[in-house]
Symmetry: D2
Subunit: 333 residues, 4 copies
């Protein structure tokens, strides 16, 4: 009940159940006069869409965005932008059997514990399908930050680990967002095998943000790192967050930690310092395994499709903090 | 600029610079009629206070809490509770030299980048000293949740790692919050050595929450895990957060991940399931090293003192979500 | 930019321009399990719809609500409810001439001053049409408060003034929400005359709320009266608010003011006392007059149609404060 | 329970009971680098202080402000500013008799209905004494808006009514904030008589704001007029609010209403248009009458002392909306 909004000035509110009429998003607090390119938005949605690759779920959802408000003659009006995506490919029948079954690791049981009622046809609000609204929100957040570059990629899947961190944001991420051709090939083979066996895999996504202004983030609770952490952990299946290689860096002595400013991940005291921002997020393997998973209508690994969602959430955080900081521009000398 | 509040219904706002007149906290949204025991509050503050152990900074701050509002005849009135702690042991002279120096890994430079002005006598709002206000907030949050038990402990320091996870919350955490006597002795020796050398260390803190009701947390952005992540990353020096052993569990296949509900860390779909909640937080080694660190007025490792802060933030998150869920009690059958 | 949400726990966010694709509302924080009757919702919308009476604008808008989320098998899920109403009867051509004209008393000029861009086809977000979303929000708020009765009516139009305040909520409000047949007839004749002349009229709406629980409202900024005031003044054309006969009661000495608890309007110290809540709202005459007004596509007086909007906003305020107070139920003995 | 904060970006949180240790305020979101003049702050507090005039309560409270945080070397740091005022002149014994008595028109009864507990020594949070914190907040809000002028004055007391509206903000408001010497003398005599008789009086305060920028306020719920209404109705004893002469203007036909832009009170569509902002607020006569009132420790009329509170709340509203609008400055061409 409540909790469907993110952000203070740039505020995104999502709605819609996985098997309801539509999903969508309201973006409140967007600047006026920004140019909207519907084709760019569709491209972002396609990056997240299922059925794009053999290792994805075989469900196909066209995810055609319809803009209901806030845009006039291809420009933002400064009023709330509402975009919806109709649900067209729900096969509720598939799920009817689940009416009385609570899938472990899903929100099925906890939704009942919380609300006493649920739309048993699917994951409801907890479904990964909700992230389609976030990608739309991220597209509009990005319009506010044309100078900042966001680049996420898969760093680990199961026991596979990226050997060379991409040097910049121009490195090709291939079909499944792994910026290394040979690892990508191995992972595709591995995930195809998983799919056939009804097994699933988790992993780690890295995010690099270039050209961030310094001074974003607030000193105490709304530290930039804190809002990134909340944004990322709000993504389904996300089970870990770190600034740079957080858990490994925790082992390093101060002399090593402080020897290279890269270790600060672009933030000091929770405020951006103008250097590259670098975050890592851990995602668990999907809980749907075994016979059910073999149906093909489930992802054996969500990481390839979560990459654009990670970027979208990061854009939303940055747009919000950018506006928050701008509010004080006239008082800075 | 803004961002000094945490929580929706149970809302904590902190204030005060490390070298100003006082630090403090307003707790808004606390239930009326709760019994306040000032001695219990002082005990919590003492757990965080510096100078309690040889491995701490040698600074002594008495941290005497003064309640200015919201409590009458030892009971909460339901009105905002304000508690302040005067700063008594600042030695500004020590810091004068830092006026033109930005300490790496601190907020010194980014504070200037953000505000264009700073209280150069210390870390200002970004100082670890701000967490005294959180511990006070946590004490009051705990009054709302008498049935829930919070227990944090150090799991790793540098290359030391706890071998046996404590079986329950009664296990003695010793002098520096390590629930294992031999590891504790080793770490004390190691940190004393660090202090002598002007070196510092980071590590990992684990948090266990028992007897949480099911149904806490909201399905999308205000997932319980997301609010925990924000709460923890808002603590100075925190650089990582995970549900259970997040980054390691990300390597596990779905069949393993889903085999034991412990791996879900007490939350499914971001909502508490009534089982033990288990989180891990990574903290970096302090950036103050070398000659400056040898002065003795700095912690070579903040983990022993961060344990009560982790518990306090967790209590604040839980009190807030508990009230949010209670708002709907009359509609649940 | 921002500001399209109202409420803390029961939160309504509206969107849509008067001449865009659709208008709508998200209701976040609604309890789960409430029975939704689409016909009741349509009835509420019809009360606000234009073209229902000869004194209204002759524009006809069907205002067919489409529920996109949050309701399953006619029950609320506890997730955000989204309802949209398509715009079908915009005659943009009528407005094209206004592209370079700023209508006095409308938001035309100030929208440009604020955003630097506007949808010149109509009033955009400032249009009275936006209130269709509030009526939908009010319908759902009412579901949370089945025991509370809301009853608004016209008390003054121009120089006409209601002589007898209705004794209870069963008094027939007639065609244009005036609970007195003879005054109603006079006002209908007067407004028809206004319409013919291109003149317009303002007036006063009274609101009575029965069966409110005591204890709603917060002691300081979120006093119940303060949130009512904000809710009412957020309605287009509202230019005054009072508790009971506020401005007249201000002339009364304390001995008179305190002689009858009715004068407190159901709130003491900003908190409901369990008695009848009584508010009055002043609305100005529409600024569209002269030849433009004679086209028939404008209301000569918005009061008849504003009555359901006043009730809707009151329901939203009460639902929010009801939930806020319920959050603490378990701590009250 | 909650509701002690006002504002989005410029946020004021007040705390303290009338007979507790101290009252105070946190101002979060203030720009950095503003010059603070403690003497100016004291002057503002003196305008609100009791005992300044024979028609006031005879209670004397020094109201010495103590700044605990957020200011360093007389400049704002951009961090939360906390200011407290100790309660020094509570005579709790006077109130002991009231322990079991609920004063009509006060929050005594409703506080019990809401919280089940209260500080019976005084009005608690609902006391007029809480407004000392608002005046402090208003002082700091004013620092953000040096170019805008705020000027409130008494327009009516009981049956006395100001004949000539002041031409500008330089008109002397005399001892009790009435900008007309002869009316002021009459009202002083009248209120002295009230005091002797144990009677009390209400009235109307007018507020004029000059040099407001255009474009402040948001189009829908956070209209500038809506936030002014909430701010004013949150003041104890306020029972009415209007833009310009709201309730009288409601009688005017559209042709008259629109004939003079002054009637819009400086806002169109809820957004400031750059002209003079003009509001009126109705306040009721104090409920303390009869023998109790004769003790001298009560105001027979709060209007003289409410004038600086009205200005303070207006400054807080304007500072907040100014920052909200500034956030978008870089997107306006």
């Amino acid at each position: 009940m409540s909790g469907n909004s993110f952000g203070q000035l740039f505020k995104v509110t999502t709605f819609g159940e996985s098997h309801g009429e539509a999903l969508g998003v309201i973006i409140d607090g967007i600047p006026a006069g920004l140019k909207v390119e519907i084709e760019d938005l569709k491209k972002e949605l396609k990056r997240r869409a299922p059925g794009q690759h053999t290792v994805h779920t075989s469900r196909k959802e066209e995810d055609a965005p319809e803009i209901l408000s806030g845009v006039f003659q291809n420009k933002t009006l400064g009023t709330p932008i509402t975009v919806i995506v109709r649900n067209t490919n729900q096969r509720s029948a598939d799920y009817e059997a689940l009416k009385e079954t609570y899938r472990p690791g899903h929100a099925d049981k906890t939704t009942m514990q919380k609300f006493g009622i649920r739309d048993h046809r699917g994951g409801g609000r907890a479904s990964g399908r909700e992230t389609v609204a976030r990608v739309i929100g991220g597209y509009f957040a990005g319009l506010c930050l044309p100078q900042i570059s966001f680049y996420a990629y898969i760093e680990e899947v199961a026991h596979f680990k990226l050997k060379n961190v991409p040097k910049d944001h121009s490195v090709d991420r291939g079909e499944i967002n792994i910026p290394d051709k040979s690892m990508s090939d191995e992972v595709v083979a591995f995930l195809s095998d998983c799919k056939a066996k009804g097994e699933s895999a988790g992993g780690v996504v890295s995010l690099s943000i270039l050209n961030s202004p310094a001074g974003l983030g607030e000193p105490v609770f709304d530290k930039l790192k804190a809002d990134f952490a909340k944004a990322m952990l709000s993504i389904p299946a996300c089970i870990g967050f770190s600034i740079s290689a957080g858990f490994e860096l925790a082992k390093a002595p101060g002399s090593v930690m402080s020897s290279d400013s890269k270790n600060f991940g672009g933030m000091e005291g929770g405020i951006s310092n103008g250097e590259e921002i670098h975050l890592k997020m851990a995602f668990k393997a999907p809980s749907t395994i075994g016979e059910k998973a073999k149906s093909g209508r489930h992802d054996p690994c969500i990481l390839p499709r979560v990459v654009p969602v990670v970027e979208a959430m990061a854009k939303i955080v940055m747009a919000d903090h950018y506006l928050r900081q701008e509010a004080y521009h006239s008082f800075r000398s």
